[in-house]
């Protein structure tokens, strides 16, 4: 793999367009990630259509820049405004904002940036080392294992999503059903088309992802006036004391390892990685009550985990075609648009492209560090962007981006419908990411179930094959565990 990575690195450095697109992606990622009300997933979903006319390499450079940088960008508003710009920054704000209020805003931002870089690099190393091994294992998978791992991915998402596991599962099933709309790939028979020619083409992932992650968030943001939020403007000292920095390396290492490993679990996402890392750090601390009062450990731990999750989440995405989180779900859409199907075959047929992804991520991490150091104070000013401009612009980008997929107004209507449904799902506390996951994984699940039944003739094979059985058992446990845990907890409280 090293020769391919070096080749890709050389190819990128002699291509100013590729470098330029990575720079643009990083800058956009930091800016959009920093804005309250614009999440990393939303940034990626809304800007994804811009990459359609690019080559796969250029598209990856651009999207990886946004992907990696927006995760760091979320910490800026978490620290200065006490509103996380991204879900992963929810934990960062617990100590980041108090630290800023103590007059250490600049130091908190620097800690977030350095921890993000450290975590990002460790996550990248995990990706480079682990992905080929997983891909090699997955090459031996047959249809039952693929079907089981897809089911496993969906149930892990249901388990990992905050809120009701049951409702997340329902969302996943809705996504799976949406994936069956249109012409069946094997027989060409139309399903759920209701006599409409446009429906026979199926429901494209991109408009649904743009609607659910983009437009739905716009609709949530315009429910009411957000009012003026207080932004801490006093960013004086940027470099923390060296003695303090020296003591934080073990924190960054622990956070990064936890984040990278959790991120590698299909559908787990950064929220879990960040929470586990922070909880672990607090448990190991000699004075856990200090957490939440504005201590550097409370910023370094979640930020290193958050960015390590980026590399970790790419492992299941690249090797199995299963999203590691909602951002990689959007990235899968990008790969499909460029005619690339993520999975173990990618490591056999397009190892050069895999190397491009690695190089793109590494460059994005390093460029984030560079621009973060140069522009910490400048990025903080972005927090005052007027909401009416931002929300209207994002809504327009959603429309144009959806149209750009197939030059079809039908996709725009699909996007608007997905956005409205995504908004209503938020209102009824039903997680939305499982719908997109189901839409992505649906074709894979159906194809492998049918192939299994064609080859083996019965359903028992899912249970008689050890890997398939193991994955199904873990999946069932993940579904039952939350209900069991709640019941045991209630019984304990009653006692």
């Amino acid at each position: 793999m090293v020769p391919e990575i070096l080749n890709a690195l050389f190819a990128v450095f002699v291509d100013p367009t590729a470098l330029g697109l990575c720079v643009v992606g990083v800058l956009l990622g930091i800016v959009l990630g920093a804005l309250p009300g614009v999440s990393s997933t939303m940034s990626l979903a809304v800007l994804l259509p811009v990459s359609f006319s690019m080559s796969p390499t250029h598209g990856m450079m651009f999207l990886m820049g946004i992907f990696s940088a927006s995760v760091y960008g979320g910490s800026i508003s978490a620290i200065l405004v006490n509103i996380p710009g991204t879900p992963g920054a929810i934990i960062t704000q617990m100590d980041g904002y108090p630290m800023a209020r103590k007059g250490r805003a600049g130091e908190a931002l620097t800690y977030a940036l350095i921890a993000s870089t450290f975590g990002g690099i460790l996550g990248w190393l995990l990706l480079v080392m682990l992905a080929p091994l997983v891909a090699e294992l997955a090459l031996h998978f047959q249809s039952p294992e693929y079907a089981a791992v897809t089911f496993f991915g969906l149930t892990m998402l249901a388990y990992a999503t905050p809120g009701s596991t049951f409702k997340a599962l329902i969302g996943g099933v809705i996504g799976l059903i949406l994936a069956t709309v249109g012409l069946d790939e094997v027989t060409g028979v139309a399903r759920f088309d209701f006599g409409l020619a446009d429906m026979q083409g199926g429901i494209n992932i991109i408009p649904v992802a743009v609607g659910i992650f983009g437009l739905a968030e716009v609709l949530r943001n315009i429910e009411s006036s957000t009012g003026d939020f207080e932004v801490i403007k006093n960013i004086r000292r940027l470099i923390p004391p060296w003695r303090e920095i020296r003591g934080l390396w073990p924190v960054a290492i622990r956070g990064s390892i936890i984040g990278a490993l959790v991120g590698a679990i299909p559908a787990a996402g950064s929220a879990i990685g960040v929470t586990v890392a922070y909880s672990q750090e607090k448990r190991m601390s000699k004075d856990p009550d200090r957490f939440g009062t504005g201590i550097p450990e409370g910023v370094v731990s979640p930020e290193s985990a958050n960015n390590a999750c980026v590399g970790g989440a790419l492992v299941p995405m690249m090797t199995l075609g299963i999203p590691g989180d909602s951002m990689t779900a959007v990235l899968i859409g990008a790969l499909l648009i460029h005619g690339l199907r993520p999975g173990p075959q990618l490591f056999v047929e397009r190892l050069d492209f895999v190397a491009v992804v690695y190089v793109a991520l590494l460059l994005a991490i390093l460029l984030t560090l560079l621009f973060g150091l140069i522009g910490i104070r400048a990025f903080a000013r972005i927090l005052h962007a007027p909401k009416n401009v931002l929300m209207t612009a994002v809504a327009m980008l959603c429309v144009v981006g959806s149209y750009a997929v197939r030059n079809s107004i039908f996709d725009v209507f699909v996007m608007i419908g997905a956005g409205a449904i995504g908004y209503l799902m938020h209102r009824v506390k039903m997680p939305v990411a499982p719908v997109v996951f189901g839409l992505i994984l649906g074709p894979l699940l159906e194809e492998n179930i049918r192939r299994t039944l064609i080859v083996n003739g019965d359903w028992w094979v899912f249970i008689t094959r050890p890997i398939s059985l193991s994955l199904l058992l873990i999946a069932m446990f993940a579904l039952i565990y939350p209900a069991l845990r709640d019941r045991l907890k209630k019984r304990g409280e009653a006692d």
Binding site: F166, I170, F194, A393, A395
Partner: protein, 172 residues
Amino acid sequence: MDNYGERRHTALVDIGVGTVLLGACAIGAVSLRNNRVLFDFDYGSDPGPGLVPALLIAVLALCSAGLIALSLFRLWRLRAADNTGAYTGPSFKLMVFPAGMTLALLAYAQTLVEFGFLETTIIFTAVWCLLIGVQDNGKPTAGHLALYAAEAIAITGGIYLVFAKLIQVPLP
């Protein structure tokens, strides 16, 4: 901890959601049933294109029924418990702007191809920059109005330049 009113509201909403989903399952089931090719044709050893959709519809119907049943059970338990505390969560009034934007977007998409991108987008962005601006800043002054108009032109122009000129997407 949610109070009685909030838990009751959640249970009622979940019953509504479950009912809507059951209705969707019924529509899906009818669609499958009317499409005889899905099940009547002999696809050899392939179970056919009807199996997975039928299974998924069945699973969704079960889950929806389960959601309704659980919610009814929660409501029944709430009747026996201490029923203090009114619902203080978000009201339906909050849905006015989102509903308005959704309808506006539908109208915008409908007119996009007929009248062209620039004309329809300028109008849409101007209206929504104004509406969201009024929501946040109150009654607009002449200066605000000029600013909102400039914002609409900037957004439309920016998106047109990026998509039509830079990445060459053929906009209507």
